[in-house]
């Protein structure tokens, strides 16, 4: 014991403070080098366990090139594999007669080996071993010294891995969640993401907002089961796959079932709860489909809240037979929709219904206060009552009445056209303007917008404005851009302008060096009150 204690003094010099600043690789190398010198061994190496793949991977070595060669040893196989599986020290007196998996040990001419497991609590996280090129009988002192060093190494590795996971997951989360939310006229969209502060509780929660090819706005909220980097990576894959499927498939059930197949095929044994909401701005129809996710809360203009999107199917990645049924509700102007992950409502020793009730009340209060950041207000109200134990993703959408004057700004990209038409059609509907007038005005605005987009060349990010006004049974729309209309070329351009003239009573194009304004006017017949 005396010998071991003395020998360890050298190791102790690597203090706790040093450990936290030194990169893990350097620290492990230093540790190995010291122990190798103390026990007069020729090589020393540390292999860490990759639990997902069931292999030991060389992480640090001295006297032998294990790391550079990328040595991997399956659990239970060879020398290191056995140390890890059995969880206690193993001595090999003569390499020639032993079952050795890693050919490098023999190639190096090693004769004797001593390996000890790296333990965190009772979990094996890796193996540390030393070797000599001359035959040697390792004794109890050698084993004890190795165990003490292994304890130190395991502690440092565990700390470093936890810190690495935390920062990596945090970066992933920041990168993967939308940096900005799209601005959609008539809607106020706010979001909140918060990772619980204590321990590695960062996980696979996410939210997303994007426009579908049919002009509907998609809201997504989801949660990949589990914590840490793997959950965050799976979340990233599911999130992008969902977007990709949504670009090609227009019904939510197909998107869900493809995602389910994807998660099963990934073979990571990860499941996810997901809810997709698709809002048609024109018809106010909100399609909801939930796979194992908690229901969203819909607050009506009268202040009553109810649950929408109760899960009709199990989480994704659980069963091959998923049947997905879409629920359809109306999202009236003046309503608010709150989507969230379970961390917001689940508390230990409490029924989920109580959590949902508390959330509903917080939502109503926050909407009544007319704050600008609804998701944040609701979050603050909930978090102030009791600390949250889990990470949380939230998405809040409010539908606002459009009023008699509608002023909008869009990015100069053809992708905005579908939602532009939906908003204008909704605005017209709110003023009891029906087809064919509604269709004509909507399409004419869309044509004018398409022209504005086409002209909006330039080095900076271009945008264009659409102002709609309704007075004295006349609708007047101004579409303004900062580009210059070039002379009409080709039949297509001519056709767009010709269509505007046919669809509207008057079309005026006012082109100046600073930009172009197209003014469209149409007298409309108003539907009689029923």
């Amino acid at each position: 014991m005396q010998g071991s204690e003395r020998a360890l003094e050298g190791l102790q010099r690597i203090s706790a403070a040093e450990l936290s600043y030194m990169p893990l690789e350097g620290m492990l190398y230093e540790l190995l080098e010291r122990i190798r010198r103390h026990v007069k061994a020729d090589t020393a190496a540390i292999l860490l366990l990759d639990r997902e793949r069931g292999v030991l991977v060389a992480r640090a070595a001295c006297g032998i090139e294990e790391v550079r060669e990328g040595v991997q040893v399956p659990l239970g196989r060879g020398f290191a594999g056995r140390v890890a599986t059995e969880g206690h020290p193993i001595i090999v007196d003569n390499v020639e007669q032993a079952d050795i998996f890693n050919p490098m040990l023999r190639e190096h001419g090693l004769r004797s080996l001593l390996g000890v497991p790296l333990l965190v609590g009772s979990d094996v996280i890796g193996v540390m071993h030393i070797g000599t090129v001359t035959p040697r009988k390792f004794n109890g002192d050698d084993i004890r010294l190795m165990q003490l060093a292994a304890e130190r190494a395991a502690h440092a590795i565990d700390n470093a891995q936890m810190a690495e996971q935390r920062s990596l997951t945090a970066i992933l989360q920041r990168t993967l969640l939308p940096a900005t939310l799209p601005s959609i006229p008539g809607l106020t969209i706010t979001s909140k993401y918060l990772a619980a502060e204590s321990g590695i509780k960062l996980g696979g929660d996410w939210h997303d907002v994007f426009t579908l090819p049919d002009g509907r706005v998609a809201f997504v909220i989801g949660d990949v089961v589990g914590r840490g980097v793997v959950a965050a990576c799976v979340m990233a894959e599911v999130r992008s796959a969902l977007r990709a499927y949504a670009m090609e498939h227009h019904d939510l059930a197909t998107i869900m079932s493809l995602l389910n197949e994807l998660l099963l095929a990934m073979g990571r044994n990860r499941s996810a709860t997901v809810a997709i909401f698709a809002l048609d701005l024109e018809t106010k129809q909100l399609c909801v489909l939930s796979a194992g996710h908690l229901p969203a809360l819909l607050l009506n203009p009268d202040g009553e809240h109810r649950q929408v999107g109760r899960a009709t199917s199990p989480p994704l990645g659980v069963s091959t037979h998923g049947e997905y049924h879409t629920e359809v509700v109306t999202f009236e102007p003046g309503s608010a929709l709150l989507m969230y992950t379970d961390g917001l409502v689940e508390r230990r020793g409490e029924l989920i219904d109580d959590g949902l009730e508390r959330l509903g009340n917080a939502l109503r209060t926050a909407v009544q206060k007319r704050g600008t950041r609804l998701a944040n207000s609701v979050f603050q109200a909930i978090a102030s009552q009791a600390p949250l134990e889990d990470d949380v993703a939230m998405l809040a959408v409010q539908s606002l009445p459009l009023g008699s004057h509608l002023e909008m700004k869009f990015d100069a990209s053809p992708d905005v056209l579908a939602s532009l038409r939906r908003v204008i059609a909704r605005w017209l509907a709110e003023h009891q303007i029906v087809d064919p007038d509604r269709f004509d005005i909507t399409l004419a605005c869309s044509e004018a917008a398409a022209n504005a987009i086409e002209h909006a060349y330039g080095p900076r990010e271009a945008s264009f404005g659409v102002d709609c006004g309704y007075a004295d049974e006349e609708v007047c729309v101004n579409v303004s851009d900062e580009g210059t209309w070039r002379p009409l070329e080709g039949r297509e351009r001519g056709r767009g302008l010709m269509m505007m003239h046919e669809l509207m009573d008057s079309v005026d194009v006012d082109s100046t060096p600073r930009g172009t304004v197209v003014t469209l006017r149409k007298h409309v017949g108003v539907r009689d009150a029923p």
């Binding site: 090819p213 049919d214 002009g215 990209s413 056209l417 269709f439 869309s446 398409a450 010709m498």
Partner: protein, 121 residues
């Protein structure tokens, strides 16, 4: 892009998306041309789910017609009688000549099949 299709012998029916405009017209057009293989003699463009079709969409249809005619294939449109697209096609009626419009897919397929029979006889 995934467009729903259906074959009735050599008549191919392709259902178009809810919106066809500058954002997707070119892609939809390419997709239609790619699907009209040599085994297809008549293309029925199903617009019954299409809510908005702008000038870029119309131009795509006219180009498609020209391409198909070069290959001796016919193009028929299915547009429900209550669809606002009817009005649009009237506005561009001069350009839309030789692009027969039918109330539904069934009628369009029937008309396309009848034409083939006439051609064969």
């Amino acid at each position: 892009m995934l467009l729903k299709t259906e074959h009735f012998n050599s008549v191919l029916v392709v259902m178009l998306p809810t919106d066809i405009d500058a954002a997707n017209a070119a892609r939809v057009g390419e997709e239609l041309i790619a699907r009209a293989t040599h085994a297809v003699s008549c293309l029925v463009v199903d617009l019954s789910e299409t809510r908005y079709l702008d000038s870029a969409g119309l131009d795509m249809l006219f180009r498609l017609r020209a391409r198909m005619h070069q290959r001796r294939k016919r193009v028929h449109l299915a547009v429900p009688p209550d669809s606002p697209l009817r009005r649009l096609l009237e506005i561009v009626s001069a350009d839309a000549a030789d692009l027969p419009v039918h109330a539904g897919v069934e009628e369009a397929v029937r008309a396309g099949t009848a034409e083939l029979r006439v051609r064969r006889d």
